[in-house]
């Protein structure tokens, strides 16, 4: 089944280990960062929306001179 005879052979990648493993590491780092950045963007957008709404509600409570929200 496998093309490698031993675990060491697998790690060695036929002598190409210094190129194969960093390539995989870089790609999966990029994928990990993408997930992290996406989560951070969503979190920040939610926080910003929450802050906006809080400000709106405050001005609503403050008095009748509210601007119509579109």
């Amino acid at each position: 089944m496998s093309s490698f005879h031993s675990f060491y052979g697998f790690l060695d990648m036929g002598g190409y280990a210094p190129f194969v493993w960093p390539a995989y590491a870089v790609t999966f780092t990029v994928m990990g960062l993408n997930i992290y950045w996406a989560k951070r963007l969503l979190r920040r957008a939610r926080q910003a929306a929450r802050r906006r709404i809080a400000v709106q509600e405050e001005t609503h409570l403050a008095g009748p001179t509210e601007e119509p929200s579109v």
């Binding site: 093309s3 870089v26 990029v30 996406a38 957008a45 910003a48 929306a49 906006r52 579109v70």
Partner: protein, 245 residues
């Protein structure tokens, strides 16, 4: 009348909810496919008769390269749709795509140069594919730089959409001019992809990886899209409901 479903589909609250629901349905298959592709590509596939085990970089390099081009296309088409029909959601898709595409373009460059070292004897050769990829990376940087230069999201959306559409026209011209330039200089090009006879044990993991990376992009796009949609909704009441959860 026939367009009402379309407008409902493209309405920010609907997109926000759907994107949230879709995320796991894209993320889990992506994770499974990528793990399967890893096992197939790194472990089960036989070594190449010329490149030994070095060719296994292909399983991450080629899908990254595919994403770098596909995402640019999506970004430009979404931008164009946003310009023509003044659709906020389309602009949000374009904005969400750019950093993903740029990061995979960078991954393509790094993995390509790691592949190049054992094959060409040098980390960087002015190979037409890598050179086009480098120019594409600059285009992504320009797009994101232009976006960042505007305070107003609406204006950033529309201006950067014009750039993306111009870029989409120019990308094939750049690519073919670079290929033409390279053919004059007899540059080294020993990448694996042009090879017509790849045995199934090598090809199947590659196809699995292509699909896995594409779904991964879909999942990250959905997450970013929710954020971008929220950023574009200043005072809508649905936001109040949406962020309570």
């Amino acid at each position: 009348m026939a367009w009402t479903w379309f407008h409902r589909l493209a309405s920010p609250p609907h997109i926000y909810r759907t994107a949230g629901r879709l995320t796991p349905w894209l993320a889990w298959p992506a994770a499974l496919l990528i793990v399967a592709g890893l096992i197939g590509g790194l472990y089960l596939a036989p070594p190449d008769y010329q490149q030994g085990d070095g060719y296994r970089i292909m399983y991450v390099h080629a899908p990254s390269a595919w994403l770098s081009l596909m995402v640019y296309t999506i970004m430009a088409v979404a931008g164009g749709i946003g310009l023509i029909w003044r659709m906020k959601v389309a602009h949000a898709v374009a904005a969400a795509s750019a950093p993903i595409g740029a990061s995979f373009t960078l991954a393509t460059l790094v993995t390509g140069s790691l592949w190049g070292k054992p094959m060409w004897g040098t980390y960087w050769a002015w190979d037409p594919r890598l050179t086009s990829e480098l120019i594409l990376f600059f285009m992504y940087l320009g797009y994101m730089g232009l976006r960042a230069a505007f305070e107003d999201v609406q204006r950033a959306d529309r201006i950067s959409a014009v750039l993306a559409v111009v870029g989409l026209v120019d990308v094939p011209i750049v690519h073919y001019s670079v290929v033409w330039w390279n053919s004059l200089h007899q540059g080294p090009s020993v990448m694996y992809l042009g090879k017509p006879t790849m045995p199934p044990s090598m090809l199947v993991p590659l196809l699995i990886m292509f699909l896995g990376f594409t779904l991964f992009f879909g999942a990250v796009l959905m997450m970013r899209l929710r954020g971008e949609v929220l950023l574009r909704e200043r005072t809508a009441t649905w936001v109040r409901e949406a962020i309570r959860t």
